[in-house]
Symmetry: C2
Subunit: 409 residues, 2 copies
């Protein structure tokens, strides 16, 4: 009997287990046994794992890739800037170009600060709110994800009580709960941190109630506190501006990262003039925060988003994806919740609290060539074509069939 040869992914997993705690960490632990852990590359909306399997990419690197992998205009801008300079003794001119572009693109923004992680940006927003107001308490929605520093990481290991001491929880879309939290903060309210919509891991997504958003704005105005929008995950995927511009509510401070440089490491805090002094007074920095290549990539990304009507394209492809999947679920007589905006959908099976059916669905979709996720919202990129969508829908139809078969009915 011959031993079946191990795949490249299996070999890498074994080596990784020896030198990386748990074999992998964070949000990129493979989302199921059927999934490859290691990826080789991608072009447009297609990606390949290390064993050469090709998938239509519905995760977009968990958000950063918005124009598709290796977008020509972004890659060209990266090559030009890299030839000049990246990480230097001071920033490059592109830093000013990008700050001007962000301020010109996002309605509430009068200034910009750049960093590397979404967590850098959300943390900095809280620090600036505290510096400007001289107060401590930040209101945060229960279950919301704002990063992986001790104050916001969702897992308790290594986190102390002091890390949460200045947070007070409210319930998303429940203005009364916000008022109660604000009352608890009393005269020590520095700001309210909120996501553009409720996209908590493990729960169906919930769009923002416009009255809720307006209520937060009024409360912050009344209390002279900062309204902080965490646009890290949604920014430049739902709107070319802050994700609450279509809602008609402008935050004082906003946190950005993921999609702004189409996959290059960049984050930003944008703010209005009322919070400029606070931003001036905090000491925030990082060894690579002034690197020019990701800034050049961001400039090219914003330009391409405009030129390609990318927001509209993602909304349209996302709507077709939703309509196709919801039809399929009906035709297989399977009850699903398909939530979130079209460009960032989230699919669960009704009553499937342990993700048993979701895992069967996702594993079969993967085998059919669609890389989606059983427990996290998906991301539609502007590179997705009609052919990509057709392939995805063929895969999801097989995936619903697999769920039906799994249920044995």
């Amino acid at each position: 009997m011959s031993t079946p040869q191990k795949s490249t992914d299996q070999q890498l997993r074994e080596r990784a287990r020896a030198v990386i705690p748990g074999g992998m960490y964070g949000h990129q632990v493979a989302p199921g046994a059927a999934y490859p852990q290691f990826m080789r590359g991608g072009r447009g909306a297609r990606v390949w794992d290390v064993d050469g399997h090709e998938y239509v990419d519905l995760m977009c690197s968990y958000g950063p890739v918005v124009l598709g992998h290796r977008h020509p205009a972004v890659e060209a801008a990266v090559a030009v800037q890299n030839e000049q300079g990246d990480c230097q003794n001071g920033p490059s001119p592109v830093m000013v170009d990008l700050a001007e572009l962000m301020v010109g693109t996002v309605r509430h923004a009068d200034w910009a600060i750049f960093a590397k992680n979404g967590t850098d940006a959300t943390t900095m927003c809280c620090t600036i709110a505290r510096a400007q107001t001289g107060r401590s308490k930040i209101l945060v929605a229960k279950g919301a994800y704002h990063g992986a520093a001790p104050w916001c990481t969702p897992r308790p290991a290594g986190v102390t009580e002091a890390d949460h001491e200045n947070l007070i929880r409210y319930t998303y879309n429940d203005l009364d709960s916000v008022r109660a939290a604000a009352a608890e903060a009393g005269d020590d309210l520095a700001g309210i941190l909120v996501s553009p919509f409720k996209h908590d891991a493990g729960f169906d997504s919930e769009l923002v109630d416009h009255g809720f958003a307006r209520g937060l704005r009024q409360l912050c105005d009344r209390k002279q506190a900062a309204l902080i929008l965490d646009d890290v995950r949604c920014g430049f995927r739902l709107h070319l501006g802050s994700s609450w511009e279509p809602v008609g509510v402008d935050p004082d401070l906003s946190a950005w990262s993921k999609a702004i440089a189409n996959g290059r490491a960049l984050a930003a805090v944008l703010g209005n003039d009322r919070f400029r002094d606070g931003a001036k007074n905090v000491f925030v920095t990082g060894s690579f925060w002034f690197a020019a290549v990701p800034m050049a990539a961001a400039i090219a990304t914003v330009k391409a988003l405009k030129e390609e009507n990318a927001i509209e394209v993602m909304d349209r492809m996302g709507t077709q994806l939703r309509d196709g999947i919801v039809d399929q679920a009906n035709s297989w007589d399977l009850a699903v919740n398909y939530t979130g905006p079209p460009a960032m959908p989230y699919l669960t099976f009704v009553g499937d609290t342990s993700y048993e059916l979701g895992s069967v669905f996702a594993a079969q979709a993967l085998r059919g060539g669609a890389y989606l996720h059983p427990r996290h919202n998906w991301f539609v990129s502007a590179a997705m074509t009609g052919a990509d969508l057709a392939l995805v829908l063929e895969a999801t139809d097989q995936a619903f069939a697999a769920v039906r078969k799994h249920l044995g009915q």
Copy 2:
């Protein structure tokens, strides 16, 4: 009368003031009026500002550039990896290659976790120490810089008492002060955070007393607490391994960033097997933490450091720089403190508490073509040639002359 034309740097500064709070932030605020704020690029040990002035680079982007700007082997590795994939749905094989390389290169390391900022790495070390020990208190040296998150940033704006609640201060190289801090922590001691040498901003550097380092190790062993070495600034500039390997003391956890990828955004936590479970249990992640290009750059950097005997080269060039500058100071009859290891020197004038003489010196050195810093340690790269050194020493001789003239004696 015609208005003198503004330099490119002046024009960029004016534009920056409108869209960046204070015009610039963090450690890359230009270190004096004579300095350019914006840089254009670099090759080897030479850098150019946006107005085309060339300098020998003694700051190395505040540490990241260790092999010189645009090192051919690193750039080639970057180009190859970039062509494949960077930020994807999962890590690339280079992540495993790099983790194995780090574990094979750094004596105390059994595993590696990668991130983006030095602050990510120091923060994560504290979180892992707490997760592993189930305790809260971390001992930190007074005045030490460990990053710019609220718990460690050196400026108080926006920082709350809770951010410091689990820190207890000791004095560097003073074992009694560490014992007193440990006694204060009682049975809640999670770890001791320490820099390889004392390189606090605004103070002459102080090399580590070997007995002090051994004492920390013994204390941590007795208390079952983590010895955490912050090798962010020094790592791979003083030794090809942890900076305390020559001291004979191994930490349990170490934080790395700056030089490990020759300027690409990467940080790492290395740890031993006693802390592997703690590392497995914390939730730490970031959108770009798994990006492959900086990891490919790091592999090429470590290889080049070995092949070029870069540590020895930097020590030798740094020693010649020190000898030359100290001789010049003597010949101009100026009393200076030249402290720190040869590859990371720090120069102050005796009694010059307001940096008045240091600023005159640095500004004249800059005019002479040497980019050094009046209030921060310098960095010698492995790309520095004899010709570069000769140019620097010519500039520093003029700079001492300017100080002598400034003193009017």
